[in-house]
């Protein structure tokens, strides 16, 4: 039920709603549609044209914040884990050394994944496979019905 209401809200941005009849009192929905059209005309062109730019910028900023921390945390956690293992098993300094390099590797992997696209998860997945999984959204709507 909740789902049905936003659909109307979303639809209003694209479609001017028709009047119920010409003779009767004007339908409030139609009047709202007309006002929206006028406002849109006043703004010049369709506002949705500038949207992709904005989204790209937002994603870029998010990516920047993400990869900065990714690498550092991987190295720090890896080294810390190695140090803890050394303390526990008394294998100093080998655990620290090995896990430091593993941490660097994991950090680089995370940064690479973050740069190659937010969509690449843990575990290597080739790019064309990701492209095919993008159509998952279309399938989604099918099984709801």
């Amino acid at each position: 039920m909740v789902r049905a209401v936003p659909a109307v809200a979303a639809g209003m941005s694209g479609i001017a709603l028709p009047k119920m009849s010409d003779s009767g009192p004007p339908d409030p929905l139609a009047r709202l549609g007309e006002r929206l059209d006028k406002a849109r005309a006043r703004r010049g062109n369709d506002p949705s044209v500038s949207e992709p730019d904005n989204a790209a910028l937002q994603q870029g900023a998010g990516l920047g914040f993400r990869i900065g921390i990714e690498f550092v945390v991987a190295v720090v956690v890896g080294t810390g884990l190695g140090w803890a293992i050394d303390r526990w098993l008394g294998t100093r300094p080998w655990g620290t050394i090995v896990l430091f390099f593993l941490g660097v590797g994991a950090g680089m992997l995370s940064v690479y994944r973050a740069v190659a696209g937010m969509k690449i998860p843990v575990g290597s997945r080739t790019l064309d496979k990701i492209g095919s999984s993008r159509s998952a959204k279309d399938k989604w709507d099918d099984d709801e019905e």
Binding site: A9, P121, G123, S124, W140
Partner: protein, 243 residues
């Protein structure tokens, strides 16, 4: 010039209602108070927004619907097929972090998400939950997540530990990212605020910087909530659809 700069004072935890169960300190703190405020505000927005659901939404209903659609879209596109079961979880998580961040920007308030223990608890819930979902859905096959495809067996000895490490690092990156952003931003605001208080008539300059910083912090607050939620979605997709 007697004003001392104490930019970290704002993060102090205070016991508002001291409470002890056995040897456990479960006092109601200022942190808990602001969590309560966040939850009450979210509930109020959602309940009032959907109380009189109209075909043409009013202001509050629009806000509630926009948030719902935003998160539903995010889950749809990022978590993939069959992830709608987890929509309520992601929605709750997103709104809680968003409101905590935004409430923290109100002067004299407390930023819940500037404490690592809070963000780590949230990240740990995500991490443990996602791992359980993966194991329940796929059983033993879940371990395939750590084995890259098409790699020579010799290299697997190197790559599997790296994949394992990068999997177990997730709760740390998730929590540190949010906590560090909030902590740094609020410390910076307090430092420039302290400058403004101590330099007398030159206070205009630090104040101008502070105004710009508040704008930046507003962006960071929303962005970090978004990043936390979208990463949760991506982790969920990993667990739901192994490669």
């Amino acid at each position: 010039m007697a004003i001392e700069l104490q930019p970290l004072e704002q993060f102090t935890i205070e016991r508002l209602i001291p409470l002890h169960i056995g040897r456990l300190d479960v006092s109601y703190t200022n942190s808990a108070l602001f969590m309560t405020i966040a939850v009450v505000l979210i509930s109020a927005l959602m309940l009032l927004g959907t109380r009189r659901a109209a075909l043409v939404p009013g202001r509050w209903q629009s806000v509630a619907e926009m948030m719902y659609e935003f998160v539903a879209d995010m889950v749809d596109t990022n978590a993939g097929h069959g992830a709608r079961d987890f929509f309520p979880f992601v929605f709750t998580l997103f709104l809680f972090i968003l409101f905590s961040n935004l409430i923290g920007l109100v002067p004299y308030s407390f930023t819940v998400t500037s404490h690592i223990i809070v963000t780590f608890a949230l990240a740990a819930i995500v991490f443990i939950g996602v791992t359980i979902v993966g194991i329940v859905r796929h059983g033993f096959h879940f371990l395939r997540l750590f084995v890259p495809e098409g790699v020579p067996i010799v290299l697997l000895f190197l790559l599997v530990p790296i994949e394992l490490l990068s999997y177990f690092i997730r709760p740390f990156t998730l929590s540190i990212r949010l906590f560090a952003n909030m902590l740094a931003g609020h410390t910076m605001l307090a430092i420039f605020g302290g400058f403004a208080a101590s330099v007398g008539f030159l206070a205009f300059f630090p104040l101008a910087i502070n105004i710009a910083l508040v704008g930046l912090e507003l962006l960071v607050a929303v962005l970090q909530a978004y990043v936390f939620a979208i990463l949760t979605c991506l982790y969920l997709r990993d667990a739901l659809h192994l490669h």
